[in-house]
C-alpha cells in the first residue's frame, strides 16, 4: 500500500526541514542563513503535501499535524541520513548535497507515477529540489576546493556521512518507485562534484539501514522529535 511510501517521502522532508530550521540565526553568513531557512521552508511545505496525501489515503481520521506531531520515533519512516545532527556547516551542507542528489533523482522518477496525486506533488516539488541541488553542489565545490580548513572539514563530513548513502537505494514493496535505479544518476553527479571539489569518495560502501523501515532509527531522532513535538503534545488544543 502506498501510505508507507508516502510517509517515507514526507518524513524525509519533515525531519530535514526541522534540522535545517535550527540554523536560523546561526549560519556563518547572512546569505547562508537565509538560504538554509528558505530550503527548510520548501521542505516543510513539501511535507504538508506528502503527509497530507498519506493521511487522506490512510483514512483513519488523522491529518498532517497528527502525523507530524503525534507519532513516536519508531513510527517515522525517514532515512537515517536526514536525522543526523547538523554538527558544523560543512556536515550540514554535505548532508544536504547527498540528500538533494538522491531527492532530485527520486522526484524525477515520481513525476511519471501512475497515481495522479503522487505525480502532481512530484512535478511541483522537483522544481524546488532542482534549485536545492544546484545550491548544495556549488557550496560543496566551493568549500571542498577552498581553504585547507574548509577542505578538511568537507572531507571529514563526507567520510562521516557516506555510511548513510546506501540506505537511500535500498528498495522494498512500500517504495513508490524502484530506488535501485536511482543509484546510477546519483553516482554520476556525486563523482563529477567530488572531482571538482577535490574530495575523495570513501572506498567502503558499508551502509547503515533501518530508518526508512522504522526498524532502527539512530538515537538522534528521538531527541529531535522531543523538541519538535513538545508544544502540540503538551497543549493538544493549542492553535496558532
Amino acid at each position: 500500500m502506498s501510505v508507507e511510501g508516502l510517509l517515507r517521502l514526507g518524513d524525509n522532508t519533515l525531519v530535514l526541514g526541522q534540522r535545517l530550521s535550527a540554523w536560523c540565526g546561526h549560519a556563518p553568513a547572512l546569505e547562508e542563513d537565509i538560504a538554509l531557512a528558505n530550503i527548510a521552508l520548501d521542505l516543510i511545505g513539501q511535507t504538508q503535501l506528502w503527509l497530507g496525501l498519506a493521511a487522506a489515503r490512510e483514512g483513519q481520521g488523522r491529518d498532517t499535524d497528527t502525523l507530524a506531531f503525534h507519532r513516536d520515533a519508531w513510527d517515522f519512516r525517514n532515512l537515517l541520513l536526514v536525522e543526523q545532527p547538523n554538527r558544523d556547516f560543512g556536515v550540514t551542507m554535505m548532508r544536504q548535497f547527498l540528500f538533494d542528489t538522491w531527492h532530485l533523482a527520486a522526484l524525477t522518477a515520481l513525476t511519471e507515477h501512475a497515481d495522479a496525486d503522487i505525480s502532481a506533488i512530484a512535478q511541483k516539488t522537483v522544481k524546488e529540489v532542482t534549485y536545492h541541488r544546484e545550491r548544495s553542489t556549488d557550496t560543496v565545490i566551493a568549500l571542498g576546493d577552498g581553504t585547507e580548513e574548509s577542505h578538511n572539514r568537507m572531507q571529514s563530513a563526507l567520510d562521516r556521512l557516506w555510511p548513510y548513502v546506501g540506505e537511500m537505494f535500498a528498495n522494498d514493496d512500500a517504495d513508490l518507485t524502484d530506488m535501485t535505479t536511482l543509484r546510477a544518476p546519483f553516482d554520476t553527479h556525486v563523482t563529477a562534484t567530488m572531482a571538482e571539489a577535490t574530495l575523495v569518495r570513501p572506498d567502503s560502501d558499508f551502509a547503515h539501514m533501518g530508518g526508512k523501515t522504522g526498524i532502527r532509527h539512530s538515537e538522534h531522532l528521538g531527541h529531535m522529535l522531543a523538541t519538535m513535538q513538545v508544544l502540540p503534545r503538551s497543549y493538544p488544543d493549542a492553535k496558532w
Binding site: N38, I39, L41, D138
Partner: protein, 155 residues
C-alpha cells in the same frame, strides 16, 4: 429568490486588484496563480495554485481573495488548490514583469539571471545569493551603481 451572478470578466477584474501580500505592487492575477474562475450554481469556485510549496503567503492570499470577493457581494466562495501543472514564472503577466522592475525587483528570465539592474539599467550584474527575503527571490547586485537588488527567480 433570484440572485444575479457577477460576470466572470468582472470577477477577473476584481481579482486583478488583490495585491500579493509580499510584493504589493503586483496582483494575484499578475502573478499567474489564479488558474480558473467558474460559477457552480450560486457558488463561485476560484482555483489557486501555490507559488512555492512552503510559501507562507499562500494562506494570506487565500484570505485576501475571499475578502475581496465578499466585499463585492459574493457570499458563496470555494477556493480550490491545484498543484499540477505546477506554477511557473512563465505565467507572470507582462504587466506584472514591468511592475516588478519599476518596483526594483528584476523580473525572471529563462537565462537564469536578470538582464539588467532594475535601478540604473546597466547589464553589469552579479549574484550574491541564490535565495532572498522570500522563497520567490534571489539576491543580486549591480557592479555599476553598486546597489543590491532582488531578482525574481525563474522556475
Amino acid at each position: 429568490m433570484v440572485t444575479t451572478r457577477a460576470s466572470l470578466d468582472d470577477i477577473w477584474g476584481w481579482l486583478s486588484e488583490v495585491p500579493d501580500p509580499e510584493i504589493p505592487v503586483i496582483s494575484v492575477v499578475d502573478l499567474g496563480i489564479i488558474r480558473d474562475v467558474a460559477w457552480q450554481g450560486d457558488t463561485l469556485q476560484v482555483t489557486v495554485t501555490p507559488t512555492y510549496s512552503g510559501c507562507p503567503a499562500t494562506a494570506v492570499i487565500n484570505m485576501e481573495i475571499e475578502a475581496a470577493l465578499r466585499a463585492r457581494g459574493i457570499d458563496h466562495i470555494a477556493l480550490k488548490r491545484q498543484i499540477a501543472p505546477p506554477w511557473t514564472t512563465d505565467w507572470l503577466s507582462d504587466t506584472g514583469r514591468a511592475k516588478l522592475e519599476a518596483y526594483g525587483i528584476a523580473p525572471p528570465r529563462a537565462a537564469g539571471g536578470p538582464a539588467r539592474c532594475p535601478h540604473c539599467k546597466a547589464d553589469t550584474v552579479e549574484r550574491i545569493s541564490q535565495f532572498g527575503s522570500t522563497p520567490c527571490k534571489a539576491q543580486w547586485r549591480c557592479t555599476t551603481c553598486l546597489e543590491p537588488f532582488d531578482y525574481f527567480k525563474c522556475i
